[in-house]
């Protein structure tokens, strides 16, 4: 059996059998799922009904305001002064005062609240009043709701991205989220698995087994075996996460499937006949059905390309950095000594995340293009750009440079590694490291 295969097998099995791996594998999707669940819950629970007391001196609004999920209006007959004192006790969130001459002077409406009123609540109330005034005024001018409905033309602009595959409607937000997610995932996994390589090398060095091992195998084989073994652990974890997350989402959507279907059917009916919706605002607030929109947006993205590139850039970035992490592990005797060497390695990764934030806003800007070429930042930055569409030649150059990059760092790391792992009890400096690079066999 091939030696390097044996090493890969050991490195892989030791890590995959660890409790922490199993826990993370199960916890990962739960965390992702929980994260979405919290966002969903927050979105739902933010719609909690506010009770609004209304004193209508004009007497023209009573019963005209629609109660919905967000607001419930009650009309009070008490004078403003007493209502001001009692509305908090009576469990109202806000008190709206509509003066007699509101139609002529709409700006005289007042909203009282114990705490300051949220902007959305204020705009809801203002909107409802404004709409009612509008209806009243239009009514006075002889225009009914029916005429208005008929006059409304539904213009709903879609953003269309032009690409080789023809026109596809795209959704900027979904693309941004996906590209950001990929970039952060690459960043985190390069760090996590890179440090695992470093720890593994240090473990072998501090437990002194390394001398036994390298009397059987070449230091380079040991280093590469470890790097590849850990990479496979990473890929296994991703695969399991994808499978488990997909499973959870299937179960999840079955459980909360009901409202989604309702939303979809509502959308279908609207698309069909455009029935008279007496509440135009409501339709605006509702927008298109978000789930269907996201699905549609995801459909327009080149998912195989994104996954393929993700795997490539994960492996490329990981190989580039883990070799360096391995060299650090070989150069030091204890965890505390790693700090000084970690810093220069961490710098470009952290910088990459900073560049990625710029690239999200301007995926084809010069900074994004350049940093997606440089091997130290390209895995993160290029992943941001890919969902937005990247010219083929740029992708090819970036990938080529990344391959050269990791061949380079692996070569450098191997030269430090082979000397470092046999240097016990000696404090190393950067000068020392640079000497090691030029040592002969």
């Amino acid at each position: 059996m091939n030696i390097i295969f044996l090493i890969i097998k050991r490195e892989y099995l030791v890590r995959v059998r660890k409790k922490s791996f199993i826990i993370m594998t199960i916890l990962g999707p739960l965390l992702i799922f929980g994260f979405y669940a919290i966002i969903g819950w927050a979105a739902v629970s933010s719609i909690n009904q506010k009770k609004i007391a209304v004193i209508d001196e004009s007497g023209r609004f009573d019963g005209k305001f629609k109660n919905d999920d967000e607001t419930a209006y009650s009309f009070l007959k008490t004078p403003l002064a007493t209502a001001k004192k009692t509305f908090v006790k009576d469990d109202y969130n806000a008190l709206v005062f509509i003066p007699k001459d509101v139609i002529e002077q709409p700006k005289t409406v007042q909203i009282f609240a114990e705490k300051s009123v949220s902007l959305s609540l204020q705009s809801n109330i203002e909107r409802d009043i404004a709409k009612e005034i509008e209806t009243i005024k239009l009514g006075e001018a002889g225009i009914t709701q029916k005429i208005i409905q008929d006059a409304k033309v539904n213009v709903d602009a879609q953003t269309i991205s032009l690409s080789d595959a023809g026109e596809k409607s795209s959704n900027g937000i979904v693309t941004t989220i996906i590209s950001g997610f990929c970039a952060v995932l690459i960043y985190i996994s390069v760090l996590i698995y890179g440090t695992q390589v470093m720890r593994g090398v240090m473990e072998e060095k501090t437990s002194r087994i390394v001398e036994v091992i390298i009397s059987s195998v070449k230091p380079f084989q040991l280093m590469m075996g470890k790097i590849i073994g850990v990479a496979l652990v990473g890929l296994t974890q991703f695969m399991l996460w994808i499978v488990l997350t997909a499973g959870l989402f299937t179960i999840g959507t079955k459980l909360i499937g009901q409202p989604k279907e309702k939303a979809t059917s509502a959308m279908d009916s609207r698309m069909g006949a455009m029935p008279g919706q007496d509440d135009v605002q409501k339709k605006m607030a509702n927008g298109n059905n978000p789930v269907a929109d996201v699905m549609k947006a995801i459909d327009t993205l080149n998912i195989p390309l994104i996954i393929g590139c993700f795997l490539f850039y994960f492996l490329g970035g990981y190989l580039l950095y883990s070799a360096l992490f391995g060299a650090v592990g070989a150069a030091v005797d204890s965890e505390t000594e790693t700090q000084q060497f970690m810093f220069p390695i961490m710098m470009p990764i952290i910088a990459a995340i900073a560049f990625a934030q710029i690239a999200v806003r301007d995926p084809d800007g010069p900074l994004a293009v350049w940093t997606s070429m440089i091997p130290f930042t390209s895995p993160v930055v290029m992943m941001v750009r890919i969902p937005f569409g990247v010219p083929g030649w740029q992708l090819a150059v970036s990938m080529g440079l990344l391959i050269l990059g990791f061949i380079g760092t692996t070569w450098l790391a191997a030269r430090i590694y082979r000397v470092g792992i046999l240097m016990y009890g000696k404090k190393t400096s950067f000068r020392e490291l640079s000497k090691w690079v030029f040592y002969k066999g």
Binding site: M1, I3, L6, I7, R10, V14, E203, E204, S207, R208, I209, V210, E211, V212, I213, I214, S215, S216, V217, K218, L422, Y424, K435, Y439, K440, G441
Partner: protein, 305 residues
């Protein structure tokens, strides 16, 4: 095939400003126990690492069993480094199987060999244990098994007895002798001169990166003999012929006198004994044979002056 399992020819190894090995040539005969001696930092470990192909010499060559050292040779060498170590969180059995496979055994071969060793050392119950749960002495035994399980022709042991209690040290010693009797060669590097005295057939002494002494232990001892004899007696030792030099006369605790007497190279020991018989009551008489320890201290001391 030659009679020597290992030869090194003019090995030079330079680390930056430090020359670790300077023109070191050794010959290790097959089926022998070869002591590689030298003070700390003399270059022993550098030499051992070159033989194990962990590092390469700057110049010179290593010949293993008549062939220039090549990667495949690692299977024929077993190495127990001075800095011992095992994967602490791996199970004993699994770990040994892994190390054996790295040395080129198949899993099945490794399993068969390991079974024999586990019975021999009576450590069958350790198979499923994690290394970190074993005592230091137990770990040493495992490490020894790891060194020899692939039945190498050349076994290199760096300080093999450190960390063993006397009983286990004896067990290992017997194993070493048994391996030698099976035709294996053992190179063994140590500071414990009494074990060198006891086990080694050949020795080489390295000091300050250079080989200062080597050969069969017997011959070296012969070479370092000073032609002195010790005698314990009662009475007064007077009027010995002037050819015999009496040195270091001292009283022993039980009332005898002990003296060292040097005789000229051409004189016969019998003459000395005859003279002694005439003059004193002898309790014991013998030749002063230099111990390896004395030779070591003398050689290294001279060399460092």
């Amino acid at each position: 095939m030659t009679d020597n399992i290992l030869e090194t020819h003019h090995i030079v190894k330079q680390y930056a400003a430090h020359r670790a090995l300077d023109d070191v040539s050794l010959v290790v005969p097959k089926g022998s126990i070869f002591g590689l001696l030298g003070p700390n930092g003399a270059g022993k470990t550098s030499l051992i690492r070159i033989i194990n192909q962990i590092t390469a010499p700057d110049s010179g060559e290593v010949i293993l069993d008549g062939e220039r050292l090549k990667p495949d040779h690692i299977k024929r060498i077993g190495y127990l480094p001075e800095e011992r170590g095992l994967y602490k969180k791996m199970k004993v059995g699994e770990q040994l199987l892994y190390l054996a496979q790295l040395k080129g055994l198949t899993e099945k071969q490794a399993m068969d060999k390991l079974k024999i060793w586990f019975v021999k050392f009576d450590i069958k119950t350790w198979w499923e244990k994690q290394v970190q749960d074993l005592s230091k002495g137990m770990q040493q035994k495992i490490q020894f098994v790891a060194t020899v399980m692939h039945e190498p022709d050349l076994i290199i042991l760096d300080e093999p007895f450190s960390g063993f209690d006397p009983i286990n040290a004896n067990l290992i010693k017997d194993e070493i002798l048994e391996l030698r009797d099976k035709g294996k060669t053992i190179i063994f590097s140590t500071h414990r001169m009494e074990s060198v005295e006891e086990l080694c057939d050949y020795i080489a002494l390295i000091n300050r990166s250079r080989k200062v002494l080597d050969g069969a232990k017997r011959d070296i001892k012969e070479q370092f003999k000073t032609n002195t004899y010790h005698v314990e007696y009662q009475g007064t030792l007077n009027d010995l012929p002037t050819a015999f030099t009496v040195m270091n006369t001292r009283q022993t605790e039980d009332g005898f006198i002990r003296a060292d007497i040097k005789i000229p190279p051409d004189a016969a020991v019998n003459d000395l004994v005859r003279h002694l018989l005439d003059r004193v009551a002898i309790r014991s008489f013998g030749e002063n044979i230099p111990s390896i320890n004395e030779i070591f201290i003398q050689t290294v001391g001279d060399n460092n002056d």
